[in-house]
Structures are given as C-alpha cells and as structure tokens.
C-alpha cells in the first residue's frame, strides 16, 4: 500500500507535466485542426530558456521570474512558428500541414543542437528539494511544486477560456471559423494567442521535466511530446479538460507500469494504449463523436 501511494504521487508528478504539454496539443488541434508536432520542441526550448535565465546571468533571478520569463519567450517562439510555417497552410490539405509540422519539429531539434550542442546540460535544482513529511510520507518539494503550480496554471487557463472575452472568442473560433469572422473576431490574433498560451504551458512542462530528470538535451522533447500527445488523444483531442485528465492518467499508468511490471516495457504499453484508444474510441474520453458528412 505504501509503495502504491508513493507511485501514485510519482504518477501525479509525471502526469502534471504531460497534462501541461497535452493542453498545448489539444488547444492547437481544437482551433486549426493540426497536430503540432513541434510542440515537444517548444517544451525543450522552454527548458533551455530556464537554464539560461537561471545560470547564465551574473545575478540570481528568483525562481518564479525564471519560470515566467521562459514561458514568455516560449510563447513568442510559438507565435513565430505559427506565423512562419503554419499560417500559409491553413487552407492547404491536412497532409501538407502535418508534414510541415514534422519538418518544423526536426528543424527546431537540430537548431537547438547547433546552438547548445548535443551534450546534455545538467539542470541544477532551482528550488529547495528537501522532502516534506505529509501523513508519514516524505514528498520532495519539487514534486509538490510541480503538482501545485500545474494545477494553479490549469485553473487559470480554465478561468481564462470560460470566463473572459478572449476566451470566449477562442471557443468561438474553434467551433466555426467563418462565423467567428462574421462576429468581428480577429481570427489571426486568436490563433496566435492560442499558440502563445499552449507554448507557455508547454515550456512550463519542459522546465519541470528538466528539473525532475535534471538533464536538458536537444531531443528531450520527443518522447514526452509524443506521450503528451497520446494523453491529448486519450482525453479527447480538442477538449482542454480531457487533456488534463488524459495527462494524469497517462502519467499514473506509466509510473505504475514501471513499478509493477517492468520499466523496459513502459513505452510499448503506452504506445499500445494509444492504438487501443484509437481503435475503440478515437474521440477519447471527453471528445465528441463527429460523423463525417459528404
């Protein structure tokens, strides 16, 4: 039982990261129907930004400022990617846009390799990691911070999407782009905003991922990116709540597999799960079933 709860906490930790990244996938998919393969790379760049802000300045920035600055720059990067690569392809066939996304993902990976080199950077801890004891369980402060901050930002996002005007516009664009234009919504700005928010949250996920595994390298975004995508599909792609649930579920399934089955088979099981979901309920847990019309 003790092992189980410990693994559950680990699962929540990894799950928070996946949920944060999955939100980016799901928001972009919801609004322009594109699987943004470059999202894992934004996560990676977010981690590099945090590293630069934390260790390359002559003075020590407070942790929260490091996070906010990296999120801001990742958001800019997200907007830039959308403007450069995806904007022209909004009316193009889906397959062209997808190929572009794959190309962008590879481009960013190798750009990072060129700038920062292929050798991993060691991410020194930015926060105090002495464990806290809650109900006789020693939990790392980092874990608490990851889970806490992730949930905080997810609540913030939900408030934004469901309670503010730009959030309403965002939902309108994802429902019907043409009608949204007729209502006086600037679709280009809303799409940029979506990319900015998704990228910022992805960067946050990347920072936590880097701190949990204490390493940063150019291809670090690939595997968590894919798993976050699976989480987004699991929860129902296009649904923000679904991405959160899916993220936590995938995180918990992964840690439980590691603990009780074998760490060798984690990827096989997670990818197998993806295939099973796609076969039996491609619309995911919270997704809506859409019939295709002629």
């Amino acid at each position: 039982m003790e092992l189980f709860i410990r693994q559950l906490i680990n699962g929540l930790n990894t799950g928070s990261i996946y949920a944060l990244v999955a939100i980016g996938y799901t928001m972009v998919y919801g609004i322009i129907k594109l699987i943004n393969f470059a999202h894992g790379e934004i996560m990676m760049f977010g981690a590099y930004f945090a590293f630069l802000f934390a260790f390359s300045l002559s003075f020590q920035l407070p942790f929260i400022l490091v996070i906010v600055l990296s999120m801001f720059f990742a958001a800019l990067l997200g907007i830039l990617i959308e403007r450069v690569a995806y904007k022209k392809l909004r009316k193009a066939p889906r397959i062209s846009a997808l190929i572009t996304a794959i190309g962008m993902s590879l481009f960013l990976q190798h750009l990072a390799q060129l700038i920062f080199g292929a050798t991993p950077y060691v991410m020194k801890q930015l926060v105090d990691t002495t464990p806290v004891t809650i109900f006789n369980f020693d939990i790392s402060r980092l874990t608490l911070l990851t889970i806490g901050l992730s949930i905080f930002f997810m609540i913030l996002l939900s408030l934004f999407v469901y309670k503010t005007k730009p959030g309403k516009a965002m939902r309108a664009v994802s429902q019907d782009k043409e009608a949204a234009v007729l209502m006086g919504i600037n679709v280009d700005n809303i799409i940029s905003l979506t990319f900015a928010i998704g990228s910022a949250l992805g960067a946050l996920g990347g920072i936590f991922y880097a701190m949990t595994y204490s390493q940063i390298y150019p291809t670090m975004g690939v595997l968590p990116g894919l798993k976050a995508f699976i989480a987004a599909v699991f929860g129902g792609i296009g649904s923000i709540g679904g991405a959160m649930i899916g993220g936590y579920l995938i995180g918990i399934i992964e840690t439980m597999t590691k603990a009780y089955i074998s760490s060798k088979w984690v990827d096989v099981i997670v990818f197998g799960l993806l295939i099973v979901i796609l076969l039996f309920k491609p619309s995911g847990i919270l997704g809506k079933n859409r019939k295709e019309k002629v």
């Binding site: 690569a85 062209s96 190929i99 794959i102 481009f107 190798h110 088979w265 990818f271 295939i275 796609l278």
Partner: protein, 342 residues
C-alpha cells in the same frame, strides 16, 4: 494502345524496349565501372544505399503517394524485414552456399513477415482518418523498435545483431530494385492501381462507383509494408550489423521526406530524390552539423512553396523525353524562322 511490332524499326521506337534498354545500359555502365575498379569502396556502398532507399521510398509511395495516407512508421516494417532476413540469413548460411539463393530465401521470409505485420496493423488502422492513421503508424513504429530492443534473446537487444553475411553486392541490389520498382509501376497502372488512385482523389466518389475502399486501402498498405520488408532485408545484408536505433522515428521521417520531395505519387520522383538525398549529405560532410537542419528546412520550404514536391504526380519517361526534345526543337525552329521573317 501499343503499336504491333512488325520489324526492327518498330521495335526500336517501342517505349518498353527503350526503357528496358536504358535500364540495362545503366546497369552495364555501373557494373563495368565497378569491375574496372573505377569506383572505390565508399562510392560502392553509397550506390547500394541509394538502391535500398529507392526500394524504401517507392514502397512508401504506394501508401503515402498513391493512396494518400500519412504513414509515419515505415522504418518499423523495414526493421521487421531486416531482423527477419538477418536471423534467417545467419541460420541458413551453413546450408546455402549461393549468395543469391540465400538472399532470395531470406528476402521472401522478410517480405512475408513484414506483410503480415502490415496486415495486422492495417486492418484496424485503416478505419481511421488521415492524421490519426499517421499517429497510429508512428506508435506502431515505436512499438516495433521497443520490441526489437526488449526481445534480446532473439535480436540481441540494444547491443545489436552482428555476424550477418554481407552478401549485398551491387548486381543483386540493382536487379532486386528494378524488379520491385517495375512491379510497383505495373501495379499502379493496372486496374487495381487506378482504384487506389481514385480513393486518393475522392473516397466517397470512388465508393459510389463500386470500389471496395477498405480492401484496396489494405492492399496498398500491405504491399507497401511487404516491399519495405525487402528493403530491410537488403539493408541487413549490406550492413552486416543491425541495431534497433537504425529503425527509429527519424528513419521513418527520412524515408517520408524522400517521398514528399520527389512528389507524392511519382515513382521516378522518389528515385531521383533518393539519389539526391543519399549523395548530397555525403558531399556536405563539411557542413555535417547543418545536414538535418537543411533537411528539415527543405521539407518546410517545399510544403510552403511547392506542396506537390519535385515531380508532383508526373512520371519521368525516356520516351517522353524524346517527344519533349522534338517539340522543343520544333518550337525553337519556329521562333527562329519568325525572327528571320521580320
């Protein structure tokens, strides 16, 4: 509508004859270059690699170009083929002395196993739409790579499988490639091939004219995976050593890039871009760090400015070339005679 061949003159202008002659000529030129040792070992290896990439890209072209489905796990089928051929090749080496026979036996086994995998994945997967199918094949590719790594009693895991007989000579590779590309070409120009093309153009319209969509989609998918298995077998016998890393997502993307750049739906486009994308990086050795950066930039730029790729869906044909040259010279003549009138 082909003209009947009555005498030698008819034979000489027959498109089939011209194309076959050109293939044989290319082979004889390459082969004599190798025989007289005008080509060093390094170029020789690259040539065989080009042939392998031609097999991989033309086979992916069936599923991605002609059928129009996004397949991101082609390296997975290649891996299945490579490991099957390698294991059978190692086991049968003491019994079969002839290289060609050994290759044929293992390649057929690789083809069957990769095809079976294609059938198993394709049957459920092809119900899904475009991008979901892409993700599913991606997941499949990753599962294959993980299985190869984890089943270390059979595949020797991450350390890699060594001691595979290196029997992939240029002639074997060349004629295997010719056989496969010709088969794909003939298939795509048959009734079944045109059915597959019609699915790409409009699924609903082709269903309403009585094409069994599921069956043809599956047929294209299985054919693609079968030939990818042969490509894998060629790779195994060329390298003599296999590691799971060779069949990762990046490999799938590399093959995919070749197909996209050459033109989705053009076999000759795939051939040309295989040649370019194998040789180009080797000559860009000095810019090694920029290699993949360049690759990905080319991919994005192609999609933005020439989404149909180099050749689009057109095929390059030597007989067409002849016609084009004659029309071109006629135009030139016409222009010059106009000029003299003035």
């Amino acid at each position: 509508m082909r003209a009947k061949i009555k005498n030698i003159k008819d034979l000489l202008i027959d498109p089939r004859f011209i194309n076959y002659t050109i293939i044989v000529t290319i082979f004889l030129v390459m082969f004599s270059l190798i025989q007289f040792e005008l080509v060093n070992r390094y170029i020789y290896n690259l040539l065989v690699m080009v042939l392998i990439m031609i097999v991989m890209s033309t086979s992916l072209n069936i599923a991605t170009g002609f059928l129009g489905e996004l397949v991101l796990g082609h390296a997975g089928f290649m891996g299945i083929g490579a490991y099957t051929a390698a294991i059978i090749g190692i086991a049968l080496r003491p019994y079969i002395e002839v290289d060609l026979l050994l290759f044929v036996v293992s390649a057929i086994a690789a083809m069957i196993l990769a095809g079976t995998a294609g059938l198993l994945v394709g049957t459920p997967a092809l119900r899904l739409r475009g991008d979901y199918l892409g993700i599913m094949t991606l997941g499949f590719g990753e599962i294959v790579r993980n299985l190869i790594t984890n089943l270390d009693t059979v595949t020797n895991g991450a350390q890699g499988l060594a001691g595979i007989p290196r029997i992939m000579t240029f002639p074997i590779a060349f004629w295997t490639t010719v056989l496969i590309v010709t088969t794909i070409f003939l298939f795509m120009n048959s009734r079944h091939g045109r059915a597959i093309l019609s699915i790409r153009e409009d699924e609903i319209a082709s269903e309403s004219v009585g094409i069994n969509i599921t069956r043809y989609k599956l047929l294209a998918f299985v054919l693609a995976s079968m030939f990818a298995g042969v490509g894998g077998a060629m790779f195994a016998f060329k390298e003599g050593f296999l590691a799971p890393v060779s069949f990762n997502f990046l490999k799938s993307v590399e093959i995919f890039v070749i197909v996209v750049l050459g033109g989705m739906g053009s076999l000759s486009g795939s051939i040309v871009s295989s040649i370019v994308l194998v040789f180009l990086p080797e000559y860009l050795r000095d810019f090694k760090e920029y290699r993949y950066l360049l690759y990905s930039a080319i991919l994005v730029i192609t999609m933005l400015y020439r989404p149909k790729g180099l050749m689009g869906t057109k095929e390059f044909d030597f007989t067409q070339l002849k016609n084009k040259i004659t029309t071109f010279t006629k135009r030139l003549k016409a222009r010059f005679s106009k000029g003299s009138d003035r």
